[in-house]
């Protein structure tokens, strides 16, 4: 599908819920919706717009908000779905109900950026060790890695 076709499908499927829909590069598009509409957006993307593949989820710290970017793909088009959430209460609905393949991506984002995915069956750490301290998320901007002068130097 071309950008125009997808745009029309999404505008039909998500009436008035689209905050932003752009086409920055050829074969790339960005969709921004409120987090309350996230699951519906996923459903429309999968069932109507033909985005069968979820490539990954990027967690990002914008400074005042936390952002989750879902990268979807279909033949000839790659779409990024942008969701934002508060830093103080970083919760997003899980996409696993629509895309079961998101299981590990959500766990990874939870580990590293600290966004909790509501409805995800299993939020154990995936990539960080068990004894990693609670509430410390390495990919947030306020987390700095200071290498101690240790035995190696």
């Amino acid at each position: 599908m071309t950008f125009e076709e997808i745009k029309k499908t999404l505008e039909d499927g998500l009436k008035g819920k689209i905050r932003e829909l752009t086409n920055p590069f050829p074969r790339r598009m960005t969709l921004w919706v409120d987090k309350a509409d996230a699951v519906e957006a996923c459903r429309v993307l999968k069932e109507k717009a033909g985005f069968y593949h979820l490539s990954t989820i990027t967690g990002r710290d914008t400074g005042d908000k936390l952002e989750a970017l879902y990268h979807f793909a279909q033949n000839g088009m790659s779409l990024t779905l942008r969701l934002q959430t508060d830093r103080n209460n970083p919760v997003l609905p899980t996409a696993t109900v629509v895309y079961p393949g998101a299981v590990f991506y959500e766990r990874e984002v939870h580990d590293l950026v600290g966004i909790t995915f509501e409805g995800h069956s299993d939020m154990r750490p995936l990539v960080l060790p068990e004894e990693w301290p609670q509430g410390v998320y390495p990919l947030r901007k306020d987390w700095k890695y200071n290498r101690e002068k240790g035995a190696i130097e």
Partner: protein, 396 residues
């Protein structure tokens, strides 16, 4: 017999890299499988934010040994988009050639590993011997056997001369003559087929639902290939190729798909070497990158490789996200393992060609305790280690 837990990893002969599986086993049958990653975390994503783009390029090459060139390509072409520059055609062709040669060496390596996992070491010895041919070509072109350092922003770093083209063509012709033999062995040798046919079934619906990538999903009949869907580095407009799919959905189908992809890659390499356009190999790239964000994708040997790059106008990126194909294939792997035999665990796991250092790349393990400013001296660390193991019932 009651169920018990069979640990596979972090250290296990079937795994060439550390990861940890917990299999609930009932006799010889796997009831459930769980996965724990993170033994290879090097904090590369965080590290990228603290380094300049050109430093990141070489750091991202070190995400993985086998698919080093792919990560470099993906990052380079993403940053090129943000910079608004377009590499010259000769540069794109050489970029594509490197990707395909890397695919050849990776697939040959995988065929051997698959043979070894089912105890067919002769297959392993033969394919790895032939893999030397492509390694020699790569070394001749780039100077290195593993991390080639060929890509840069705006093109590639080394050119090919007539002599190299001739030698590369000879090597590829030799490989082209050998590969049908492996396809034949892989698809007909009775004990090998007995071990891989019907094992690790992944139906088409499940492959789509679990977002598998690469040869794993193509062997389930999904024609998902970034080279076709989202052409890059000269694919699509300049370089012709075919997608290989198979309807089998089992390990045998994955062997067949990979062996046929080898043939496809030889054809692509020959096409590039014979039709290499004249001209420059790179254009000059600016040091700073304008603000913006981009998703860059490429078809690695194991599937779709995707980078998300966000720039903030400086010479350092604001966020780099790397997703290597192996992570995309884990949900499908766990699905394939459930209900199978213990004996099939290694080959099913190997069938997605897992690359764990690709998968684990973004957390910093070494500073577990320093993260909380809870600095320990060596003695404290030692006591902590003993305590840690005692809690888990291991005597020291």
């Amino acid at each position: 017999m009651s169920t018990f837990i069979l640990p596979v990893g972090p250290q296990h002969p079937a795994l060439k890299e550390p990861t940890s599986f917990r299999f609930m086993v009932d006799g010889e049958t796997v009831v459930d499988a769980d996965l724990r990653l993170g033994y290879n975390h090097r904090g590369i994503e965080k590290g990228c934010e603290e380094r300049t783009y050109i430093q990141d390029l070489y750091m991202l090459e070190r995400v993985c040994g086998i698919c080093s060139n792919v990560h470099m390509t993906v990052f380079a072409q993403g940053v090129e988009k943000l910079m608004g520059i377009e590499p010259p055609k000769r540069g794109l062709f050489i970029r594509c050639l490197m990707g395909e040669l890397e695919r050849v060496h990776s697939h040959l390596l995988w065929l051997g590993v698959a043979g070894h996992e089912v105890g067919f070491d002769t297959f392993f010895m033969y394919t790895w011997r032939d893999r030397e041919i492509v390694e020699d070509i790569l070394e001749m072109i780039s100077g290195n056997r593993v991390n080639y350092g060929m890509q840069t922003f705006g093109g590639v770093r080394r050119d090919l001369d007539e002599m190299q083209i001739k030698k590369a063509l000879e090597g590829i012709a030799a490989l082209k003559a050998r590969t049908p033999y492996y396809l034949n062995i892989g698809a007909t040798e009775p004990t090998l087929v007995a071990r891989i046919a019907g094992v690790g079934k992944l139906p088409k619906e499940k492959a789509l639902e679990l977002n598998a990538a690469g040869p794993t999903t193509r062997a389930s009949g999904v024609d998902f290939d970034v080279r076709k869907d989202d052409p890059y580095a000269g694919f699509g407009e300049h370089i012709p190729f075919n997608i290989v799919t198979d309807e089998g959905g089992d390990v045998l189908a994955r062997v067949v798909v990979r062996a046929k992809e080898l043939m496809e890659s030889y054809n692509i390499c020959e096409f590039i070497l014979k039709n290499l356009p004249a001209g420059e190999i790179r254009v000059k790239a600016p040091r700073k990158v304008p603000e913006g964000e981009v998703v860059s994708r490429a078809e690695a040997q194991r599937g779709e490789c995707i980078h998300y790059i966000r720039s903030n106008g400086s010479d350092k990126p604001d966020r780099v996200k790397v997703r290597a194909p192996t992570l995309a294939n884990w949900p499908a792997t766990l699905y394939m393992l459930r209900g199978g035999y213990v004996a099939d665990i290694p080959i099913v796991m190997a069938a997605i060609d897992p690359c764990l250092s690709c998968t684990d790349r973004m957390a910093v393990i070494s500073d577990v305790r320093k993260g909380t400013e809870q600095v320990m001296d060596w003695e404290g660390l030692r006591r902590y280690g003993i305590e840690f193991h005692r809690k888990r019932g291991i005597k020291l």
